[in-house]
Amino acid sequence: MSEPLVINIQNLSRRFGSKLALDNVSLQIPAGTVMGLVGENGAGKTTLIKHILGLLRAQEGVVRVFGQDPVASPEIVLSRIGYLSEEGDLPTWMRVRELLRYAAGFYPTWDEAYAQQLVGQFGLDLNAPLGKLSKGQRSRAGLVVAMAYHPPLLLLDEPSSGLDPIVRRDILGAIIRTIADEGRTVLFSSHLLGEVERVSDQIAILKAGKILLTGSLDDIKGQHQRVNLVFPSARETAPTLEGCMAWEGGGREWSAVFFGDPAQFEPQAALLGAQILSRDSLSLDDIFVSHVGVGASAGESQP
């Protein structure tokens, strides 16, 4: 039996003036999933997350979180979401202890012992005003607030943007801890694909408001490979082969990033007289660049 959907987005579109920020996006995230949302700046990641939080109304399409409309029932939905934004939106005049005290009032499931454990682990000074903390320390304080009530859904919007490796490690640790709690779900957006690759079991790649690719990390990696081949004679330009997203090389030796069923590639290469030398798996970074990088287009990457 499949897990119930924590997030269910159907045909969501959003326009800001003349700019189409989200274009017919559909995304389903079952309970217990860790989904990494990746995309360029301005791809629509934050817009998508704001729809999930109910901060933006769906102009077209439907957004349901725990089966509820987050705009119509913010109290119900938000009480089950732990949210950390990249913007550092905590009130700077509050002290850390005041922040925890304030936040505790909103969540009946607030776990003070767990909050204090996280404060100790992150080395936060309870007396310090948030305005005097470094950006990394403020992120840690925000993380404590986002996690201390064991939310069923953890939503992290570029949580490690601009932070040092130690804070990033703390944030990754938080995600891992949340995963360890059975049935909890994480959705986080990031530019740091190494991190996404490390903790996610599902990936969604956004480009210009559209979801280019979504699925499990293993499946996505299995669909992509780098094929190194040698042609019988030197070539000035790369050939056009179905499923090939990018070419590199020159003369007789070329390598291609291929997306799709590997069995489709070999007959096409054989027709050109090319000999396949080796096949390599791709990192998420390579996959992302091949889909989103210069020259890549949505049409090229559709399976």
Binding site: E75, R101, A104
Partner: protein, 563 residues
């Protein structure tokens, strides 16, 4: 081109719409005053003068950088200018000079127009007064004082001081020439202090102070006072609103009180209160210190004004300067839009009561100051503490009337505190800036139509205009309430409570106004029929108790929170 000139040009360009609107208003006002004169429509002229006052406040705000956080301990001078390759002298003198020229020109033009229209007014003194205000505000705001809220404290003290110089010079016995010299001294000292303050901020003084405090070894070892968690979201939000906005008004009332007391020590004359004469069927008239008689009403009047200033966002709680969307920190808390607005209303009430409570208690010891009784042709015949002098006059209706005045003042403080919520929470620039202008234009247009085309006097058209406004208010409130009920934004029980609150507020306000109105009619202050005033003040009472604004605040917040 000088960098300083370019900075000033940018500042003026940024506020071009406001400045153009002000110039247009001044031109219209001048044309009106010179064309019609002050005799024909004195009430309308007085109303239009308010626009000039607001324009002056706006100009001061432009040249002290209006985006600044008034509670900040640091300098509010825009820090990105500090990295420009330009001397500190230019950073200071260009905006200061531009402000002086603009405000000076503004006041001089007003002064010249007023004199042409036959109003006795000294344009030089007026210009120096506002320039002294501007330069002293620049000195206060651009200096990194290092203490939160210190800018507010100093602002109040300085404004009180300049005000005393401006209007109190006959009372304190210095001549007109000396007044101008005093203004000049304030301006010069302020410019020097501004220069020192900006240089200090540019050198990062406040930053060094923060760094030093962070380096203190005791910071981490200081014992942490454990705070019990709030029991509910309501309690947490109430605490937040109080810390953020609620405590400001009581603090201001304390500072205002201290600033009010200082000149009292120089007062050694008594003035009669003729309104009380005759109540005891005696021919004596009670007298109290002149300073108290002159400035105590002003002190009490300032409280509703401060309520308005705070409520309209002197300290912006949830709307960031660059991003007008509802602050993420609150928007992502699991609480309803109505609950967020309701908490703000409650904190406004608590803040108002705390401020007035403090002020009234603090004023009580003043009854031990010396007062007197006077008789015609004899002057002061007996001196005694004020409580002894005034006690015989505190009879039934006098007490009721004093309480009515206090009720109206307290109510207006709360009302002014909250009337700006619906625009502030909306995050809409149009609502914040254009809506008051549009409302003012409609109001003036309605009066003008009545006067010009219907041949009415301004007083005759007043009940009609007010009646239209009341009708518009109820229509708007009904539509908003219906839509909120339909969308589930407000439950029918909440709407019912809002309605009951409104009826209660109108009843209490109406009764207080009725008492005061009766006093005014009885004393012959009003030269028109009582029914006319009763009609007018009933409509005004219906208007001033906020109903549509409270309902709109919830809708505005909802739209802003879920864009």
């Amino acid at each position: 081109m000088s960098v300083g000139f370019e900075m000033t040009r940018t500042l003026v360009y940024r506020h071009r719409f406001g400045l153009v609107a002000m110039v247009a208003y001044l031109a219209g006002f001048s044309g009106y005053l010179l064309g019609i004169g002050t005799d024909r429509l004195p009430t309308l002229t007085a109303i239009l003068f308010l626009g000039l006052f607001v324009g002056g406040v706006y100009l001061v705000a432009v040249f002290i950088h209006p985006d600044s956080d008034v509670a900040s301990p640091g300098s509010t001078y825009p820090p990105h200018y500090f990295t420009l390759p330009v001397k500190t002298r230019d950073l200071v003198l260009w905006p200061v000079g531009a402000g002086i020229v603009c405000l000076g020109a503004w006041m001089l033009v007003i002064g010249v127009v007023m004199r042409k229209a036959g109003i006795n007014y000294d344009p030089i003194a007026g210009a120096l007064f506002v320039i002294a205000l501007l330069t002293s505000m620049q000195a206060i705001f651009w200096t990194p004082l290092g203490i939160p809220y210190s800018k507010l404290v100093l602002t109040l003290i300085v404004i009180a001081g300049i005000w005393v110089i401006s209007v109190g010079h006959p009372l304190f016995g210095f001549a007109e020439g000396e007044r101008l010299v005093l203004f000049g001294a304030v301006i010069l000292v302020s410019i020097v202090l501004t220069w020192i303050g900006v240089a200090s901020a540019r050198a990062g003084d406040i930053y060094r102070q923060v760094t030093r405090s962070e380096d203190k070894p005791t910071e981490r070892t200081r014992p942490v006072r454990v705070l019990p968690a709030f029991r509910s979201a309501k309690a947490a939000q109430l605490w937040y609103e109080w810390r953020m906005q609620g405590k400001t008004l009581p603090i201001l009332s304390l500072l205002l009180y201290v600033a009010f007391l200082i000149p009292l020590f120089w007062n050694d004359t008594l003035s009669p209160i003729y309104d009380l004469a005759g109540i005891t069927r005696d021919i004596t008239t009670p007298e109290i210190p002149t300073y108290l008689k002159t400035f105590l009403p002003a002190l009490l009047f300032l409280m509703p004004v401060y309520g308005w200033a705070i409520g309209c966002g002197a300290r912006k709680s949830d709307v960031r300067r660059s991003d007008r969307a509802f602050h993420l920190f609150f928007a992502t808390r699991p609480t309803s839009d109505a609950e967020l607005v309701w908490t703000k209303l409650r904190v406004a009430a608590l803040s108002t009561l705390a401020a007035w409570g403090f002020l009234l208690i603090a004023l009580l010891p003043l009854v031990f100051m010396e007062g007197g009784n006077s008789k015609p042709a004899f002057g002061i015949v007996a001196k005694a503490p004020m409580y002894a002098i005034l006690a015989p006059y505190l009879q039934g209706w006098v007490v009721v009337k004093v309480l009515a005045v206090l009720f109206v003042a307290i109510f207006f403080t709360w009302r002014n505190f909250i009337i700006g919520f619906w625009t502030e929470l909306s995050g809409s620039l149009f609502l914040r800036y254009a809506q008051p202008a549009v409302a003012s234009i409609l109001l003036v247009s309605a009066f003008t139509i009545g006067i010009r085309f219907q041949g009415m006097t301004i007083l005759q058209s007043l009940p009609i205009v007010l009646g239209l406004m009341v009708a518009a208010k109820f229509a708007l409130a009904s539509i908003v309430a219906y839509r909120q009920g339909q969308s589930g934004l407000l439950s029918s029980s909440v709407l019912l409570r809002v309605g009951i609150g409104y009826i209660l507020g109108v009843s209490l306000m109406g009764y207080a106004v009725y008492i005061l109105l009766g006093q005014a009619i009885q004393m012959g202050d009003l030269n028109t029929s009582g029914s006319f005033y009763l009609q007018t003040f009933t409509l005004l009472t219906l208007l001033c108790v906020p109903l549509a604004r409270v309902l709109l605040a919830v809708s505005a917040l909802s739209r802003n929170r879920h864009r």
